[in-house]
Symmetry: D2
Subunit: 282 residues, 4 copies
């Protein structure tokens, strides 16, 4: 598998979208040297955004994680999270009332900033649910799976309401070898039990790329193929970016290991424009 240096590719584009996990950080924290990439992009006047399916906290909280770990250039305005799509959807479509959720208090930020009242599943009385307008799956933490997954199922059996999944990922890494079920995986289980169809936000869905694209165009108008999507996962970052009309670069610092990249690309038919060892510019 012939790889290219990320630096020579990056300079061809006006804006770059970065996936977070496997590209900017891994189980040990920030990937060493990646902070230099953002200094380089700032020097060259190339704009950038972090485009992530992480809805566990708001953009300020997510940016803070980068800043504290030494990437000072990733400010909240550089963060595009799937939670922000959920928030916009709630603003447009729910408008007022109580929104139930599965997740931490931090993740409920996306409901609150839509001007809506939040209600964690644990606090719901199943005999008094007429005031609940919508349910949002936000984060895998912050609730009791034994109790609250079944409670969500019975809430949705009792009352038909819109259900929003703010992160479509099935699992995420928690250490070098270990993973954890993400809220997208839990929402799949609930959908399967109920036979219902939820509203899902996150890569590879086009709405996520469109949202990021609109944000990027606010800074300066762009054609889609003037943007490079950089990711470590063929089935989210690469196919999604490609379908949206952007160019794509697969990095081998995360999910797709160097010795499997060729097999995965020919097996899946998902073809990135470039393959790079990492997104580090040294």
């Amino acid at each position: 598998m012939k790889t290219k240096e990320f630096k020579t590719i990056a300079t061809k584009y006006k804006t770059i979208f970065f996936d977070a996990f496997g590209v900017l950080k891994n189980h040990k924290g920030i990937i060493p040297g990646i902070e230099r990439t953002f200094e380089f992009l700032d020097e060259k006047g190339i704009n950038y955004f972090v485009v992530t399916n992480d809805s566990s906290r708001g953009p300020e909280g997510l940016a803070d994680g980068y800043i504290r770990r030494g990437i000072k250039n990733i400010t909240p305005d550089k963060i595009i999270s799937s939670g922000m799509l959920a928030r916009d959807w709630l603003s447009l479509k729910v408008k007022e009332g109580v929104v139930a959720y599965l997740g931490t208090g931090d993740s409920a930020h996306y409901i609150e900033t839509a001007g809506l009242e939040t209600l964690p599943i644990r606090d719901i009385d199943l005999d008094d649910i007429d005031h609940i307008k919508c349910l949002v799956f936000l984060d895998d933490e912050g609730f009791d799976w034994n109790q609250d997954i079944n409670k969500v199922i019975n809430l949705l059996r009792k009352r038909n309401m819109p259900v929003v999944v703010a992160n479509t990922d099935i699992h995420y890494p928690v250490s070098k070898n270990d993973v954890a079920v993400a809220i997208g995986g839990i929402s799949d289980l609930v959908e399967e039990v109920l036979g219902k169809k939820f509203i899902r936000f996150g890569k590879p869905d086009a709405q996520m790329f469109m949202f990021a694209y609109e944000r990027a165009c606010e800074v300066k108008p762009l054609k889609r193929n003037e943007i490079l999507m950089v990711g470590d996962t063929l089935y989210t970052d690469i196919i999604g970016g490609n379908k949206f009309g952007m160019d794509t670069a697969l990095v081998l610092s995360g999910n797709t290991l160097p010795d499997m990249a060729k097999v995965r690309i020919s097996g899946s038919g998902i073809i990135p424009n470039y393959i790079c060892e990492s997104a580090i510019i040294s």
Copy 2:
């Protein structure tokens, strides 16, 4: 939808297989009057078995639930559970060593009676797993979902071993309106995260019907179409029984409600030989 009286159908067969939930019992307990069905079958010399995907306890425990509630004729030898297939598989294929499990201590009965050592997931040290031969999904109760589902995933990422699912059901009823996720649903989530393929026992899989058939033939040799499968669910009892070569009766006392039966049958293409209000013989 024209229904037939169960009594007139039952007498055409030498042996009858009954699904448990929705046929013999519901959320309130034993369906009133069903005890008379078994007295009638005994009088007529028609044999019967309860064929169930319940692996939460052994056949003695399951039979005891019927006997205590007034159906004295359902003795342990009348119970065929998917857990018994898991037990037989373990006896044939694992032979010795430690078997990890998700479920209650009661459900671990199926591992113990295969002569194997049991180890609940919570007690596993993920740094010391070389002695674990196999993992079994037994019951949705008896473990901490937040901790132990992720622990199972990481166990199976660290070590490739056979995985057996002793109950393929996705959910089960717990009260008039409420359901709970069954262990089959949890195993689906784990399979999805891992991309692996587990060994699954339970209706509608043919191995379950074959197991029951072999048991019935031990009493007296039978042709398959001398057996009637009685169930409340098209996608498990009826399609499975039909494919196995048995005749089938759909009862409307459980999952398939009277006003939806026609739509469900024509929508699914799963056609029972008979439809009955219930399996009660009065």
Copy 3:
């Protein structure tokens, strides 16, 4: 199921998107009276578009079908088809060279107007495929299924290339009772055989609604919830429009029959803002 008169709803919106089949036409042709709807919208200064997964011919061809049947207001600029997304994608991402396709010559319009050379599958020599840049699934007609489906599969096994599906529908109606497999269904079969992942355009995917939204905004800037999506199918028009942030009206003149609407909505959890007998304004 309480329905509303379409006229009273329509006047609340600045722009209306109409699904084609089941809303504007059915197996007999144009739904009688629907032409008046467009006269009314023009009188009121409400803009409208037909948003369709039909990629069997270009927008001129599709508009011509309406004009010839008496809806003179549906001119080519009012048509948004999934084929147009495929065309734009080809323009952005393929740029030059030969594009192979399954479909009629009419459907190849979308490749030609992207400035690319077209090659029907039947004319491909499987020993000379290095010049083929991309494959597009356009229409279920215009090729020999026995020969050409297998030929496509072997083309994609020999050479990894981007594959675009210009219509995600599985089937479409051809007469009062009969349906035919659509090209989306054929592409599903090919994806299943190959285990690959294609690029798919069409409702309910967000990219389709975004494309239509951008077109509508060219006429006059709009918020998403100033648009009404009118459709007959919960799983494409309604969930897709809703997720995109538009309001939605389910009409009972097509796929979703009046006596099943309530069951379908509560079963799927897909909730339209309004339900109307039809989109006719008399």
Copy 4:
């Protein structure tokens, strides 16, 4: 990946089941040297069967293919095909009348030997279908896909009847590099369009292994783990044989290539008891 010599494994078992394609034959014909395997097994008194999802012709026709190519020991009584399960099912459940089918005249053998009247889809008049009792998917050849796939769909929309799929395979090899869609793939497309559930026979389903097991026991009574299942495909032969309680040997002469075997086994979690280069005993 450490492999074992097939000879040393074979002698541990009383009966051996062989998959056909990838084990006994490949795109060039019989795998050279495999005829010696059957002489050896006959010498040692080890029984054997070919267990195949091929329903394109009857056991005589299938055996004839081996005999003409030099494996004289594979007589019709050694053949177990999924078509034979379909035939038995028709005998038990349909009993009399007309059975429609997709496939060649040769494949219709399985309907005829069940004592039923055959009717190819092409000869059906969709206005005169009340006499059709059942539909069987037999072979991908012998019909016009453009016409007859849609005709089958509309037949099943007009009339609810049992549908049997006599071969669950999605595709099969036709030359060194090329494959063709199998009838199981076509039946998947039809099931998807209709949303119905068909009765499917073939590996990895337990009913296929049970059928073969019963046949083997007619010769001499056997425990399941006294049988070895030999196959080239993890997802059919190995998982199916393993679940049934048999031991399994994966051979690397077909679908699973030597350099991918380790990745496939750890990726899928499907673990054969043995891995062998081939089933040749020299």
